[in-house]
Each structure stands twice: as C-alpha cells, then as structure tokens.
Amino acid sequence: MKNFTLKIQRYDPETEKVYFEEHTVPYAKDLTVLDALNHIKEKTSAEIAYRWACRMGMCGSCGAIVNGKPALMCSTFCRTLKQPISLQPLRNFPVIKDLVVDTDDAMDKFREAMPYTEIQKRHINEKDETLQTPKQLKQLKQASQCIKCMLCYSACPVYGLNKDFIGPAAGALAQRYNKDTRDKIKDKRMDSVTGKNGVYKCSFIGECSEVCPKSVDPAASLQKLKVAGMFHAVKKTARTVIKKHEKNLHEIP
C-alpha cells in the first residue's frame, strides 16, 4: 500500500456548509489517524480544525467518529482501518467547526455526579492522611480511569435522543465516588443521579463500554447505580416512615 486515503467531514460555521474532503497521506506502518491529520494540516489543508494534545490516549481531546465508530484518533492506527478512512465529528454534540465539537453539555452533567469527597479527617494518622488499602483502591480503580473523552456520550443513542439524560461518563464518575471509602455524601449523590433524567433512563445498550478507550465500563457502572438506587430509595422511604412514626409517638399525650 502506497497511500492512505482520508475522507474528512468539513463544516464551515459561517456558510453552514457540510461536505466531505478527500486527502491522501503516504503510508507508514505506525501512522495514527491523528498523525495523518497533522500531516494533512501541515502539507495540504492548514484550515482543518480538530482538537488534540497528548498524542498518547491520555488527554481525551482527539475523539472523532472514525469509520463510523467513536474513537481516539491518536490511538487508532491507519493500517487497521478500512480505506478510505472516514472522519466525522463526534455524534450527539453541536459542531463548532470541522471535527471540533462543543462538549459543554456533557461536562455540565458531571456536576450532577458530585465528583468529590468530603474527606473525613482521621486523627489517628499523624498528618491527617486518609489512606486507602489496595483492596479499597481496587473497588474504584476501573471507574477512576475515565479521561472525559466523551466517546461514550457520542456512542449513546439515549443521550442522542434525550440531552437531559445524565449519560455514561457521569454515571461512571458517580460510581467511582460512591465506591470511595473516604466519601461521606453518597446519599446526596444517589439522590442526584437517580432523579428524573438519571441512571434509570439508561436502557443498557452497552456501546459506551465498547468504545471506551480506558475500559471504564460505564454501562456496568450505570446498572450498578440502578441497583444501588433501588436500595437507596427503600432506605430513604424506611427512614421517612420511621421518623414519621417516632414523631407520632412523641405527639401522644
């Protein structure tokens, strides 16, 4: 093979025109899609817009639809793809220009997952460190690998249909903090993620886990949150009933 052919979807925000542009890149065994794009930008078409930063699958900036599937361009080798390689912006997001999308909406969803802990200070430890055992870390490690690349949101048809849905990555994030032994706000978080547009909107298609470059398995996280949400609801109802009962008991003269 002498060349790779790339079919890039272009979008001009000024004219609102959407069209495909074909480019060829010389063959190289270790050429990634991102390398190919950089080559095109450098040699033939400088105005193509796309995001990238680390080039090693860590920053999550270079997500795009590569041959119909959401993928990180820096982790996808051209030699593994069917020719011509089609490049499109991530689905389910508004396009700013060419392959650059606006992910603000999904980013805002992360707030609903309350991705933080209220660390309980332990006075037994000299420096008030909150140490974790390897076993405790193992509980949350998989879900903590998320790099917010938004490939899962792009692969999720439920999010595509209902933009209010909390989405896969936010679910994985909530699960990660729920599993954290230092966490003190699990109840608040569960209230937040099991709301009207919360985890119960997920219909367990599983494509989010399939496209995840870090094997976070957000689909499984969402299902686990559904089960946990059920117990949380039962616990919450029981608490309310008990409180009411206690109040009634106090009111008896």
């Binding site: 494509e207 689909a219 686990k224």
Partner: protein, 126 residues
C-alpha cells in the same frame, strides 16, 4: 455551531452489532408480550365461539403465537441473562462473567423444564 444530526434517525440500530442486539432484545420483549396477549385472547374466544371454522382459525393463530412467544422468550432471556453478570455488586473477571452466565442459563433451563413438567405432565396423563 449546530447539531449536524439532531437526533438518531429511525435506522440508528443498524449502525453496529450492539445497537442491533439491543434492538432485537427489546423487540423480542414486545413480541413476547403481544403473542402472550394473543394466545390469551384466542383461548377466551375459542371458549365463547361455537363455530368450528372460527375455532380452527383461532387454533392456528394460537399455534403461531405460541412459537413466536417461545422464540421471543428465548432471545429475551438469553440476552438479559448475558447482561446480568455485569451488574453484580462485585466486579467479575471476563471468565467469572462467563461462568455466572452459564450458571444462570443452567438455572433458567432447569426452571423452564420444571415448569413444563409441572404444567404439561398432568395434562398429558389426562
């Protein structure tokens, strides 16, 4: 800045195999419900109707509905049982997930067999 695709189109489920499996799983659930309702309706109607021709038509509908219901229940159960190991409260390895799936399948087949024997054995004896 604009959405190039406002919402997934009517054929979004043909995009890849996972979407397709999901679609088949849900369609199988709907088919199962519909065919069960059809069977119940046919059974009630056949009790009320005395016309032999109508009874024959109802029997045919029941026969086909039964096979649709059975096929749908098998697809629906297989796909859901396949999903269950992933929603366990503990994390399982791939091999562990497969093992749980096989156990669930064995339990499901065993319970189905037990149900068939309990329901149909007295009928066949009669």
């Amino acid at each position: 800045m604009r959405y190039l695709e406002q919402k997934p189109g009517p054929f979004w489920w043909t995009r890849n195999i996972r979407y397709f499996i999901y679609f088949v799983r849900e369609i199988a659930g709907i088919m199962l419900g519909l065919s069960t309702l059809t069977i119940i309706w046919c059974l009630f109607q056949s009790r009320l109707m005395s016309d032999q021709n109508i009874s024959m038509i109802l029997e045919t509908i029941t026969f086909y509905s039964f096979w649709i219901a059975m096929g749908s229940s098998i697809i629906h159960s297989f796909t859901w049982l396949h999903a269950i190991p992933r929603i366990m409260p503990f994390t399982l390895s791939r091999t562990g997930q497969k093992l749980v799936y096989l156990i669930l399948l064995a339990v499901w087949i065993g319970l189905s067999w037990l149900a068939i024997v309990t329901i149909f054995a007295p009928i066949s004896h009669a």
